[in-house]
């Protein structure tokens, strides 16, 4: 009997957590579209999420593009399809690697910082202090981060796409001996608008998930420094898993026939 009780308790815990998360997300979204807005805070978050993530995302993208060119060249050589390298690089970057890698890197960088900051505010009563100063913490803390995440991730991913494709071009022309103009025209030949758009939609969803997880775990953290540490870990892990799950779902929605 105890086994059933344990399983039941786990299920209830899971459902309660899922419900809390959905309610949190709903409240956060509602706060994001109702005044008062805090333009200064939104701008600061956009700077933090977008601009200061550029080096990390750029480095990730260029090496991914380079390794992609190298791998597909050596792999495709087995059935004499080396010509497809440029197409493979640009399609993989825009559809998959750009958004997913940028999402994961930003989850590690920004999601963790958000959870730690909001978590510390929670355990030092700063969130309670906000309420006593007649300020809604959802509008002051959560909404600016959500809005910034939703808007900035697509921008980051667009930059990552370009840098990644450039990485592939670099390896293709310098190391693998492609003619530069042929490589570029091959890249454009099979690229469709939908490839890029689907990547940007993914990026926006990932931006939402990352900031939501950072805020949610920070907001509900308790128990001092240890609690904040736990919130930070949970924020990064849950954001990363959700990114991978939603990556599949969005791909299915866009491309599965």
């Amino acid at each position: 009997m105890t086994i059933f009780a344990a399983v039941g308790r786990l299920c209830l815990l899971f459902l309660a957590a899922a419900g809390r998360l959905v309610l949190f997300a709903g409240r956060a979204l509602w706060s994001s579209v109702h005044p008062p807005f805090y333009p200064r805070l939104i701008l600061r978050q956009m700077l933090d999420i977008g601009y200061f993530s550029l080096p990390v995302v750029g480095l990730t993208a260029i090496f991914s593009g380079m390794v992609l060119a190298l791998q597909s060249h050596t792999g495709f050589a087995r059935f004499s399809a080396e010509g497809a390298v440029a197409t493979v690089v640009i399609l993989s970057m825009t559809r998959e690697l750009g958004p997913v890698l940028a999402g994961l890197m930003v989850a590690g960088r920004v999601g963790a910082a958000m959870a730690a900051e909001i978590g510390t505010m929670r355990v030092t009563e700063q969130i309670d202090a906000l309420v006593t100063l007649s300020t809604n913490p959802f509008k002051y803390l959560v909404a600016p981060r959500l809005i910034a995440g939703l808007l900035m991730l697509p921008c980051l991913v667009l930059v990552a796409d370009i840098i990644g494709v450039f990485g592939g071009y670099l390896i293709g022309t310098v190391k693998l001996g492609f003619n530069p103009s042929v490589y570029v025209s091959r890249s454009w030949e099979y690229l469709e608008q939908l490839d890029v758009i689907s990547g940007l939609v993914k990026a926006s969803v990932f931006g939402f998930l990352i900031t939501l997880m950072g805020c949610y775990h920070g907001y509900h953290s308790k128990g001092g420094a240890q609690g904040v540490g736990r919130a930070t870990t949970s924020a990064v892990v849950s954001a990363s898993i959700l990114i991978l799950i939603f990556n599949y779902i969005i791909t299915e929605l866009f491309f599965a026939r």
Binding site: E117, M121, T124, E125, Q126, D128, A129, L130, V131, T132, L133, S134, T135, N136
Partner: protein, 264 residues
Amino acid sequence: MTPNPFRTAVAPPKIALEGVHKSFGTKQVLNGVNIHVKRGESLVVIGGSGTGKSVMLKCILGLMEPDAGSIRIDGQDTTHLRPSERMRLMQRFGMLFQGGALFDSLPVWENVAFALLQRRMPRRQAREIAFEKLAAVGLAASVGDLRPAELSGGMQKRVALARAIAIHPEIIFFDEPTTGLDPIMADVINDLIVKCVKELGATAVSITHDMASARKIADHIAMLYKGQVIWSGRTEDIDNSGNPYVEQFIHGCADGPITMELRG
């Protein structure tokens, strides 16, 4: 409207708690708390750690909702307010948190002027008021541009006090105002609290386990034990309370009717 002399005679207490219950899981924290605070009066609630003082304060502030009972401010029940009404009520409150709870992302003056800036007051004007309030709690103007993390504990408490009084609240709450301060700084903070409350003509509710602080800032003292008020009276009477629990607490004896539950 002309003031009605009969009306003022029966004016409801500023704050009235009746039968307030609150529990977390199976742990009953507040077990029917009854407290009345008159307008302009300073009430200090004393009690050991874990007796429900903080929870009571958070219930009055609306940061927690009681399971049962009523909390009335000026006769109006505040336990089931809608968020917008709650926000409006909050504008009449000031709160000094135990750790200060200053926003470490903002400079000191923006902390003090936070509520003013939220009300769309121009920054220049808010800044001036912030420096006035800092001066009122005995801080130099140069402090205004520092970050809260650069201040000592006593200075942080002062800034938090300045923030709490910045919008001229009708009711001010103090959560352990002297905890973590040396005895001299504690006394300075006590004096500041008395001064600020008098100047604002505000009603004050404090919780503390520091008897020196309680004697200094209280008109009335109530003692909380196991989620209930077991004694209340004027500050002068506390030494002749005839209540063994109060006696033990104010003398700080380990022996007596109160036994420390080391297992929560």
